[in-house]
Structures are given as C-alpha cells and as structure tokens.
Symmetry: C2
Subunit: 322 residues, 2 copies
C-alpha cells in the first residue's frame, strides 16, 4: 500500500489544490466515463463538485437512498446539486438495505452488511450500467488513520481492506481528497462554490442512521431515530458544534405516563467539539436547551421516556455509538 501524506491546513492553498487535482484527474481519466456516489456530506459533495468541474457530464453521479438517512435528505441533496448544475441520479435501494440488515445486532456485521449492499449490490450495478471505468470516492485522511489504527472501519476504505476494486468490481478508484482532514475538505468545498449549508455541514457517518441504533436496524427503529435526529439538529444547530446526533438504545428504562408505569425507550444525545473527529469534547450545551431537547423528544417521539446527554470525551468514547 502506498503511504499517504497528509496536507496540513496551514500548507493548503485551495486554488492550487483544486487546479492540481483537475490536472491529475484529467490526465488519468482522459475521455473515459467516471462515476461517484454522493451522500450529501462534505466529503462526497466536495468530490462531486471537484470532478464535475473537471469532467462535466462525463461524471455520472448517483445518490443511493439506503433508507438510513435523515428525513427528506435524498430529495434535498439531489435538488441542491441540480441548482448547482449537477444532475444526480436518485436510486431507491431502501428494501435491499433493510433486508441485508434484518436480524443483525453486531455493529461490525451491520457495517459489513451496509458496505456489501452498497458496493456489491447497488453501486456496482449502477457502475456496470454506466460502463464507467473510474470511480471517485470521498475518503479523507482521518478515515485512513482510523481504519489503519483499527478504531473503526470506514465503509469507503477499500484498498485498506485488501479489496482490488478493478478485479473485484471492474473499476479503478480515485480518492482526490485523501490527503486532507475535515477542515481541509471544508476549505476546498467552499472554494469550489458549494453553499455554506454543505461546506459547514456536521459530519454524518458512513452507515448513516444505522450507526446510531444499538441492536437491530429495522424500518420502525429508523423512523424513531430519524425523528429524534431532526429534533436534535433543530435544537443544536445554533451551537455551531462539530457534530450532534441522537442514538436509539436497546435498553428499556422505567418511565411514567399519566401516573402509570411505562417501560420505554431511551435516546442518547451527543454533541461534539472537535476539529477532525480524532479527539473530541462534549459541547457545554446550556441546560435550558438540554431540557427543551429532552421535553421535545419525549413528547414528539412515540415510546421514548428518557433522554441522556453524553459527557465522555473521545477517547475513550467515539463520536458515534456503533
């Protein structure tokens, strides 16, 4: 494996980086077709804009709806990029992902099921149909480090997992932002003309909301975590924190409704101060906001009787729960 060298934020000249990458991509891809999958996160958004700028309509971008995303997310991202002149194909693969996740409770097995469904099932099908030879991915430097360290397996790291994509899937992978950490990617995304809602977007995990469900991922449980996520994002966006999220636990706790015992669900809220997700500290969210959060979640999300707030730093915690 080739050693990847980090480009530190202070060394990064966005215009120079972009024109270098445009040149590299042009010389590699030539007149061939390329594909990529957009998730709406800052990494894949930056890659989409960068490669679209270089290859124009020879880049075929898809958005795979795995059923595990935020409320309304797929339609929102596709229309946002349409307004920027980038046509994105929306692929509905919800059933495939839920079938693959059925009965799985182990975090590694869940991640693996999502990776396999994404690459082997849905995305490779799309690549085959397009006849594209090149595939662009939004892998960043933190993904590489964490995968090598064994902290967490990122779904978009293929080479590190020993997968020869050309042999196994029929395409060559290019990872233009692999030398950058998150803040570097944000700088590039801004320089590429993406709107602030994209370049300053809090990170969202690869396995999406499945990373925020302890135990089995089902359409019903996704619905619960989706509603809680929406409330958390509404109430915590003002904090300008690095990331904020809602986790659905499997454990049930005692609650009380209308003076009767109600054994119900618990949602854990996390909100992080961090630069690059490698280390993090819980945001000191004012208690007024925490109380409002708990009140909204227990009122608006059916079955939830308890809400907690994470107070552990990373390490020994991680940003996401799974």
């Amino acid at each position: 494996m080739e050693k990847i060298k980090e480009i530190k934020l202070e060394e990064l000249n966005p215009e120079e980086f972009i024109s270098n990458e445009v040149e590299k991509i042009t010389s590699k891809v030539g007149d061939d077709l390329a594909v990529n999958a957009l998730s709406g996160g800052v990494d894949s958004s930056a890659v989409t804009m960068l490669v679209h700028k270089t290859l124009g309509n020879k880049l075929l971008t898809c958005f795979i709806d795995n059923g595990l995303m935020r409320e309304g997310e797929p339609e929102y991202i596709v229309s946002l990029f349409k307004n920027l002149g980038v046509n994105v194909k929306l692929i509905d693969a919800k059933d495939k992902f839920f079938n693959a996740l059925k009965d799985l409770t182990d975090p590694e097995e869940k991640r693996e099921a999502i990776t396999q469904t994404f690459y082997k099932d849905v995305f490779s099908q799309y690549v085959k149909e397009t006849n594209a030879k090149y595939l662009f991915q939004g892998t960043n430097y933190t993904d590489v480090e964490e995968t090598i360290a064994g902290v967490k397996r990122q779904h978009n790291i293929l080479e590190q997992l020993g997968i020869d994509t050309e042999k196994e899937f029929g395409y060559i992978v290019i990872e233009p932002i692999i030398q950058l950490r998150k803040t570097g990617v944000r700088t590039i995304a801004k320089a590429l003309g993406l709107p602030e809602e994209i370049y300053n977007r809090p990170p969202f995990p690869g396995p999406a909301l499945a990373a925020r469900i302890i135990d089995e991922v089902t359409p019903e449980r996704i619905k619960i975590v989706k509603k809680a996520t929406k409330i958390v994002e509404e109430e915590l966006s003002n904090t300008k924190a690095f990331q904020y999220l809602a986790i659905l636990h499997k454990d049930k706790v005692t609650g009380v409704r209308n003076n009767k015992r109600d054994f119900g669900l618990q949602i854990e809220v996390r909100c992080w101060e961090s630069k690059d997700a490698l280390i993090g500290t819980p945001t000191r969210v004012p208690y007024d906001i925490l109380e409002k959060l708990a009140e909204r979640i227990t009122n608006e999300v059916l079955g939830v009787v308890s809400v907690t707030y994470n107070i552990t730093k990373k390490p020994p915690s991680t940003i996401e729960a799974i």
Copy 2:
C-alpha cells in the same frame, strides 16, 4: 384498607409527633418483643431510633446484607448505630439474594425476587428466631401514593399488595412514619438525634443497586455499579441534590482505548432536584464536574467506555431506571 392521611410539613411539630408515636407504640406493643430491619436510609433509620427510644432492648434490629448495597455500607451503618447505643445484628444473606436474582432480566421479576427473598426467606427467619410479635417498617407517604398509582411497587408495602402479614408471616406490621413525606421524615430523624449524614442522606431504592442495573444482576455487575456509585457520590455530594446515582446499562457502545476499538459498557448518571420524589428535575451540574465524573468513571471502572447524564424530568422519567 384504611385511608392514610398525610401530615404536611407545615403541620408537623416534631417533638409532638415523636411523643405521640412513643405513646401509641407503647400501648400497642406492651411487653412484647418487636423487630425491624435497618437499611441505613433515612426512613428505616428514623424508625429504628423512634422505636428504640420507646422500647429499648425489646426492639431487635437487624441489618440484612443483600450484597446489593454501597461499598462498605453494612459495616458503616451497624457501627454508626452502635455509637448511638443501638445494637444491630448484621445478617449476611448475599448468596441467597444473588441466587434468587440469577437469570432474571425483567424489572418486576427482579423486584419480586428481592422482596420474596427479603421477607419470605431471610427476614421471616430472623423474626421466627426472635419470637417477636411486632414488626416495624419505614413506609412513608410517597411509597403509599406511588404503589396505589401503579408507578412503582415499593418493596416495603405489604398491606397494599394484599398480604396479611400476621397470617402469612406471623407478625403484625406497624408503620409509624406512613403519614410523612421524605422532608417530614428528615425533620423527625434530626429531632431524634440522628447525625446529619443520616437525616440528610439521599434516598436509596428498596432493591438497592439492583434498581440501577439494566438486565441481569450478578455479583460482577454489582461490583461495577458499586464502584461507579462511589465515584458519583464523591463527586456530586457538594451539589446537595435530592439524589444522585449511577446506572449500569446492558447496551454496549463503541469506545477507543490505546487507539484500538473497544466495545464497552455505558454508565448513566442521574442527579435530581426534588422535594418528595414525585416530580423531579435534573440538577444543572457544572460541566467541569460532569467531565471529571466521566473521566474518573472511565478510568477507574474497568470496561466502561462511555458515561451519560440524564436530562429528562420526572415525569416522564422516573428517579431510578428500573
């Protein structure tokens, strides 16, 4: 069932209450022997002092070590009362309780196993040996209300559960503080000459630390919650909150230790502002203290990678988790 009338704090004259109760107890018990079980909580401590004051050595007090209590608790309480002139018999029943709790995961079944082991097995054995005819209990007014409302079954409510103790166990139950709420009991405890560490003690649940373990209660899991409880009590005693506690979850979450993924345990901390446990608000504990708490728990309690803080009011939460 006889209707129980609350004595409100503003109507309570402690000296008058105590002399009335001394008179009532004397006329009921006469020259017979009485027993009670002391747990070290303010309720059973107040009852022990009140009845000891009335009956002297005719009250036989025991402390049943169920293995589910705080670190060093049984020895601490027995020696504290010895210094106040009250001899307390310490009964080691740890094995009996852990055997009864084996394989139980349902909260109601766990409570039931503890109640049954306490009354039918250990305590009734003690009562038989002493030949006592009267049994004193520290039931308070909130216990009665919550049991009637069906919110939670308190282990010391027997009449409400339809148990005729004279027929079933061979003794008559007397509940001298049943008309008082917690603050009333504290007032009486103080007037009886108990030290502040007892009369201002945060409440502790009937099933003790078993109420703070989600899923099965084993000696190993009790050890974990014991350590976490000790840290929480050390760090939060300055808050002067109504109650503070540590809950061991069953769910595991991803953590990171020495740069490696570590799928580990989660502890939930709760700290309550409340007058009588009927309603409660999470204490606005300063973040410095919360961070220190999380750091100590993840460093000092083996296997714990994540600590959360409860931000939900009661209702819809309850004070304890189980």
